[in-house]
């Protein structure tokens, strides 16, 4: 029973990380109906930026400042990619944008790989401690991951449901052609969406790097794309679906590793995606688009 509870704690903290990355995929898809394949690699870069900041900063940066810096840098980079690579293609066929995203992701991951061919160890950002709560071990780091992710998600939900920006974002997602008629600057909304979405991905990268302290350039494909599965399972474009998908995937992964050899993990995650897409082609919470001639 204690073993089960322990795995449940691990599943929750992994689920939060997946959900945090999946939010970036799903926000961009909701607004642009485009899969940002570069998101996973920006997530990977988040961990590397954190490593760079910790190694090269003259003073020891406290965790909150580090988190904000990483989010700003990765968010800025995401915004830049949108401006340079995706915006010229907004009226092009959708496939062009997807290919471009795939290309951007490969450029980022292979540049990182060329600069740092080996895995790197993440230095400890703060002193990690274990607590024993009713026989279940939970670390400060896990609590931090859960706390920070929860805060970011609640913040995002409030931003989208309550603020003027959120209202404009929902309008653009609903109908990008009529939104400018209502006085909404579509370009600004899309840029901000990229900034926030990739910023969340960067934060997730940093937290992931702290939780599993060996980071490498292949993390974007290995972990980032897993989060993409989470977004699709929940119904891509649906923000609550991303969180749900993250938890489903985290739970499935932790319990499959707990019962089967760990090499089966990817096989199970991707098979889960395939099965869900075959039976629910638009994800659990997603709705089929209305296609007209």
């Amino acid at each position: 029973m204690a073993y089960f509870a322990q795995q449940a704690v691990n599943a929750i903290s992994l689920g939060f990380l997946y959900a945090l990355i999946a939010l970036g995929y799903t926000m961009v898809y909701g607004v642009l109906t485009m899969i940002n394949f570069a998101h996973g690699d920006l997530f990977m870069l988040g961990a590397f930026i954190c490593l760079l900041l910790v190694t090269f900063s003259p003073i020891a940066l406290p965790f909150p400042i580090l988190l904000v810096l990483v989010m700003l840098i990765i968010g800025g980079l995401g915004g830049l990619i949108e401006r340079l690579a995706y915006r010229p293609l907004r009226d092009a066929p959708r496939v062009s944008a997807v290919i471009t995203a795939l290309g951007c992701g490969l450029v980022i991951s292979n540049t990182t790989l060329s600069i740092s061919p080996y895995s790197r160890a993440m230095p400890e950002v703060f002193n990690d401690q274990y607590f024993n709560v009713f026989g279940v071990g939970i670390s400060t780091l896990q609590m931090l991951i859960i706390g920070v992710s929860l805060a970011l998600m609640i913040g995002l939900d409030a931003l989208i449901q309550k603020s003027r920006f959120g209202m404009a974002l929902r309008a653009v997602a609903f109908d990008a052609r009529s939104a400018p008629l209502m006085g909404i600057s579509v370009n600004r909304i899309i840029s901000l969406t990229f900034l926030i979405g990739t910023g969340l991905g960067g934060a997730a990268g940093m937290l992931y790097g702290m939780a599993f302290p060996v980071i490498s350039a292949s993390m974007g494909v290995l972990v980032g794309w897993k989060a993409f599965i989470a977004a699709v399972i929940g119904g891509i474009g649906n923000i609550r679906g991303a969180v749900l998908g993250g938890f489903i995937l985290g739970t499935v992964e932790i319990f499959s590793v707990a019962t089967l050899p760990s090499t089966y993990r990817d096989l199970i995650s991707y098979s889960l995606l395939l099965v869900i897409l075959i039976f629910k082609p638009y994800g659990i919470l997603g709705r089929a688009p209305n296609i007209k001639v």
Binding site: P88, V95, W225, V232, S271, V293
Partner: protein, 327 residues
């Protein structure tokens, strides 16, 4: 400049050049293979180029003519490569005569899997189909890593070198011939109609589902054939060599040469192979430059070099006549 252009146009109109080129090419391949006309590196690159032509033409059927976005082609290659390599290396070693059946088995293996994948997944289109092919690629890769009798993550080594230049050339020609005839058949018209507008095609009585499944199956068959050829050329395969990077390479070829064009596919494969060899000394930076080319291509010339145009050599006579009448 104008003279060169006119010369090219006149050359493109001479349809007898294609069979002449075929015979010359085949003779050249046989001679190059049996004599020391070319060194082994040049032969290797030429063979790789022909394999790339097969890959590019077969993916163009789905991504170019059908207008879907599949990133799973490397998965079909892996199936073909492993199936054929198991036959020639483990089950029947020392019988090179079995190579041709082994290639076919590789292709069939990929085609059967491709058929079932298409059957299940063609309920969706566009982004979701891309996701399914991505999941398929990942599943094939991690399944191969977990099957110990095909070598697991270490892969299969000691595959006999059976892919010669003439065999690669002949297979590439057969692939081009089959796909060209498919495209200009009733089935091919249906495929192009689906690309232009699926709902309208459906309303006109095109059996869209069947056409899509058939296109995908044929494409995966030739993906498997190319995988079989590749395995017997490089003599060592592991699951890692059929990952998303391999798929991206094929995508670069297809979109560089031009979607919906056989001549474009050949051109794309040739340019890509030479570019990729020329950049080999830069190591992993090669895989930075190639996707960058893809991105720039998408922004500045989204349809590639040939983009929906075709050399008159590949067009049926009737089509050519219509075209002349129009112009």
């Amino acid at each position: 400049m104008e003279n060169i252009r006119r010369f090219c146009v006149r050359l493109a109109d001479r349809r007898w050049i294609l069979p002449v080129l075929l015979v010359l090419g085949m003779t050249f391949c046989v001679v190059a293979e049996s004599t020391s006309l070319l060194n082994s590196y040049t032969r290797f690159v030429l063979t790789a180029m022909l394999v790339n032509v097969i890959l590019c033409v077969s993916l163009n059927l789905v991504n170019g003519y059908l207008g879907e976005f599949s990133v799973g082609h490397a998965g079909f290659m892996a199936l073909g490569a492993y199936a054929s390599a198991m036959l020639t290396t483990c089950l029947f070693p020392q019988t090179p005569a079995l190579f041709i059946p082994a290639i076919l088995v590789g292709g069939l293996m990929a085609a059967v899997v491709g058929f079932f994948l298409a059957l299940l997944s063609f309920k969706t289109r566009g982004d979701y189909l891309a996701i399914i092919t991505l999941a398929f690629l990942m599943i094939v890769k991690s399944a191969l890593e977990n099957i110990s009798w095909v070598g697991g993550p270490r892969g299969l080594a000691g595959i006999p070198t059976l892919t010669t230049l003439p065999i690669a050339f002949a297979t590439a020609i057969i692939t081009l011939w089959v796909i060209r005839n498919l495209i200009y058949s009733k089935f091919g018209r249906a495929v192009v109609a689906i690309r232009e507008d699926e709902i309208a095609a459906n309303a006109m009585g095109v059996r869209t589902r069947e056409a899509k499944i058939l296109a995908f199956t044929v494409s995966s068959f030739f993906g498997g054939v190319a995988g079989a050829l590749l395995a017997h050329q490089i003599t060592f395969i592991n699951p890692g060599s059929f990952d998303i990077v391999k798929s991206t390479e094929i995508l670069v070829m297809v979109y560089l040469g031009g979607i919906g064009s056989l001549a474009g596919s050949i051109l794309g494969a040739v340019i890509f192979t030479f570019l990729s060899e020329a950049l080999r000394e830069y190591g992993t930076w090669r895989m930075v430059i190639l996707p960058l080319i893809l991105v720039l291509l998408m922004i500045f010339r989204p349809r590639g070099i040939m983009g929906l145009r075709e050399l008159p050599w590949f067009l049926p006579r009737r089509e050519l006549f219509n075209r002349r009448k129009k112009s």
